[in-house]
């Protein structure tokens, strides 16, 4: 159902997460909320280290949803969705990329501020 590919690269401390969408009635949901975008106010983002960062951040992960099962955490910054860049998109473009009706699986490339520590800990 949901897999957790934990492929880490030493240089960039990024994580690839594969989320299988869950069908609820007519909609395919992923189970998290996003905030941010180049048309938004970056100063209000509680998760970013640099308050001028206009990237897409995960603001909420619903309990037991596909995203949580796949290993997404709140505060993650989404860098790519299925190969599409998400660092310089508007909020609406990000939403559209994530909710394409003809895709069942989305492969995200995320980065997390304390991912370096997590990697080190898991290596020891």
């Amino acid at each position: 159902m949901v897999s957790d590919t934990d492929e880490t690269s030493f240089l960039l401390f990024q994580q690839r997460i594969e989320i299988h969408k869950l069908r609820q009635g007519e909609n395919l949901i992923l189970g998290f909320s996003i905030g941010g975008g180049i048309d938004q106010d970056p100063g209000q983002n509680p998760y970013s280290e640099d308050k001028s960062d206009k990237g897409i951040y995960v603001t909420r992960v619903s309990e037991g949803g596909p995203a949580e099962v796949a290993g997404l955490h709140t505060g993650d910054k989404i860098m790519q969705v299925n190969g599409w860049d998400m660092t310089m998109v508007t909020h609406d473009q990000a939403r559209k990329r994530l909710t394409k009706k003809n895709e069942d699986v989305v492969r995200l490339l995320v980065t997390r501020t304390n991912l370096e520590n997590v990697v080190r800990q898991s290596m020891q």
């Binding site: 998290f32 996003i34 905030g35 209000q44 619903s62 909020h91």
Partner: protein, 498 residues
């Protein structure tokens, strides 16, 4: 702090040693750290203690030096050559002015009876002629009858061009007049009057040309010049128009006298105690090599490199010396300000209602002398610390105090003259003797300013280096902003669940 004190005591010892040694070679720089030679001056005012100075009969005091400099200045006395050019142009102008009048009068005087009678049209021409001559006279007085600003090394090209033009004009008119009117005794007087009127018109147009060439052309700024004083690096930027190099030099000098702080030779050098440490390097001996000319540059370069590589703390010394100097100046300044403020509280202006209790009434000079004594010592100490004592004598300070009192100035206004070094023009009392400047230039000084022209204005002990750059051409575009287009929204912070 210990290290700093040690350094300071070390440098103090060095300079104290300098002060107590008596013999100095003539021509040595005469002002070291604490210049006690100022006490040699006759007006030893404010200083009640005697100080042992370190001079012998071989040394040159500061006063002698300033006297010598003044002699050189005054030797540039107003000589007749300064007035030759204006006198010549004045004579030419007068000649040109009187020519139309002569044209009118000569037939009347010589062959009046033969002339055709000329009624109303001639009188109309007389009136217009009179007014045009009046305008010519007033304009010449306003523009050209001014004392010359400067004596330039080369001939002023535009002015000589115009003089030649006027001379040719008037000469050709006289020639024509002589041949066609005087010889055959022309009888048509109206034609003669019209001829004189045309000459006056032509003179007015030449005057217009003169105004445009001499006065107006240089008003529009075209070059930005940078003026740097070589001794202390004081620099300024000015905008000048199209001028020749010598005219630009005159204009720049006029700005220099009121913009640049006065040149103070005492403020220039690093104290000897700091520099002497650098100089004590090692000597290089060449053993028996006669033709070692090509080796000498290599040797000196090696010496300089070695000296640079050696670890020295002279920058440290300099830093602490500067900090100490700042502190000293500020302390003296504080004492001076307090003394002057307190002195000014002792006098006040006589009001009308004070007449009833008679006190001793003083004029400004006496009032100044009365309060001067309490601030004299603080003033002298401050001036000596900031090395300004050559510029202000006791008499000068008294006069300034008298001036400030009579104009109801506050102590701060009185002190403004001494706390900051003013422009040069403030310190020169007599402006009748000329100031000698030498224009040093690689290009002929009558050529016009161009991009990249560099010239220097030299004086005895410093010079001003002037660089000219063209002012860039400006592309000004227009952008229309509709006043209704200023609208604002709050920034978004959306959160979407997917």
């Amino acid at each position: 702090r210990d290290r700093r004190d040690r350094h300071r005591s070390k440098s103090r010892d060095g300079s104290r040693g300098d002060k107590s040694v008596t013999i100095q070679a003539p021509g040595d720089p005469l002002l070291d750290n604490e210049s006690t030679r100022g006490d040699e001056r006759d007006d030893n005012w404010g200083e009640t203690t005697t100080v042992v100075t370190g001079t012998s009969e071989h040394s040159v005091s500061n006063e002698d030096l300033s006297r010598i400099a003044k002699d050189v200045d005054e030797s540039a006395a107003p000589d007749c050559r300064r007035y030759l050019g204006p006198a010549l142009s004045g004579a030419l102008g007068l000649f040109a002015f009187l020519t139309p009048v002569a044209f009118l009068l000569l037939p009347q005087l010589l062959w009046r009876d033969d002339l055709d009678p000329c009624g109303t049209p001639c009188e109309g021409l007389y009136v217009s002629l009179a007014f045009k001559l009046l305008v010519l006279l007033i304009a010449s007085w306003a523009l050209f009858l001014r004392p010359p600003r400067a004596a330039l090394p080369r001939v002023f090209v535009f002015r000589s061009l115009l003089m030649v033009l006027v001379f040719l004009f008037v000469a050709s008119y006289w020639l024509f007049y002589g041949v066609r009117v005087l010889e055959p005794r022309e009888r048509d007087y109206r034609g003669i009057v019209e001829y004189a009127a045309s000459l006056v018109d032509a003179l007015l147009f030449i005057q217009y040309l003169a105004i445009v060439l001499l006065e107006i052309r240089q008003i529009q700024p075209a070059f930005s010049v940078k003026v740097v004083r070589t001794t202390d690096g004081a620099s300024k930027f000015y905008n000048v128009g199209h001028l020749s190099i010598q005219r630009a030099a005159v204009w720049i000098l006029e700005q220099y006298y009121s913009d640049f702080p006065v040149y103070n030779p005492a403020l220039l050098n690093l104290p000897k105690s700091i520099l002497s440490k650098k100089m004590s390097g090692f000597k290089v001996y060449s053993l028996g090599e006669e033709n070692s000319t090509n080796n000498s540059t290599g040797q000196s370069r090696a010496m300089i490199a070695a000296a640079a590589r050696r670890r020295d703390n002279s920058h440290n010394e300099y830093y602490y010396e500067e900090a100490e100097m700042d502190r000293r100046v500020r302390k003296r300044k504080a004492r001076l300000v307090v003394a002057v403020e307190e002195a000014f509280t002792h006098i006040k202006r006589l009001q009308a209602e004070d007449q009833k209790n008679p006190r001793e009434v003083m004029d400004p000079r006496e009032a100044a002398q009365a309060i001067f004594a309490s601030m004299a010592r603080a003033m002298q100490k401050y001036l000596r610390t900031t090395r300004q004592q050559p510029f202000h004598s006791m008499e000068g300070i008294l006069q300034h105090l008298q001036f400030c009192i009579s104009h109801d100035m506050t102590p701060k206004a009185f002190l403004e003259r001494y706390l900051t070094p003013g422009p040069t023009v403030q310190y020169h009392k007599d402006n009748t003797a000329g100031r000698q400047w030498t224009l040093v230039s690689e290009e002929p000084v009558t050529s016009a300013l161009r991009e990249g022209v560099v010239f220097a204005l030299k004086r005895l002990d410093f010079s001003l280096v002037v660089t000219a750059r063209r002012i860039p051409f400006l592309q000004v575009r227009e952008e229309f902003v509709d006043p209704k287009s200023h609208k604002f929204v709050m920034r978004l912070q959306s959160e979407t669940s997917v």
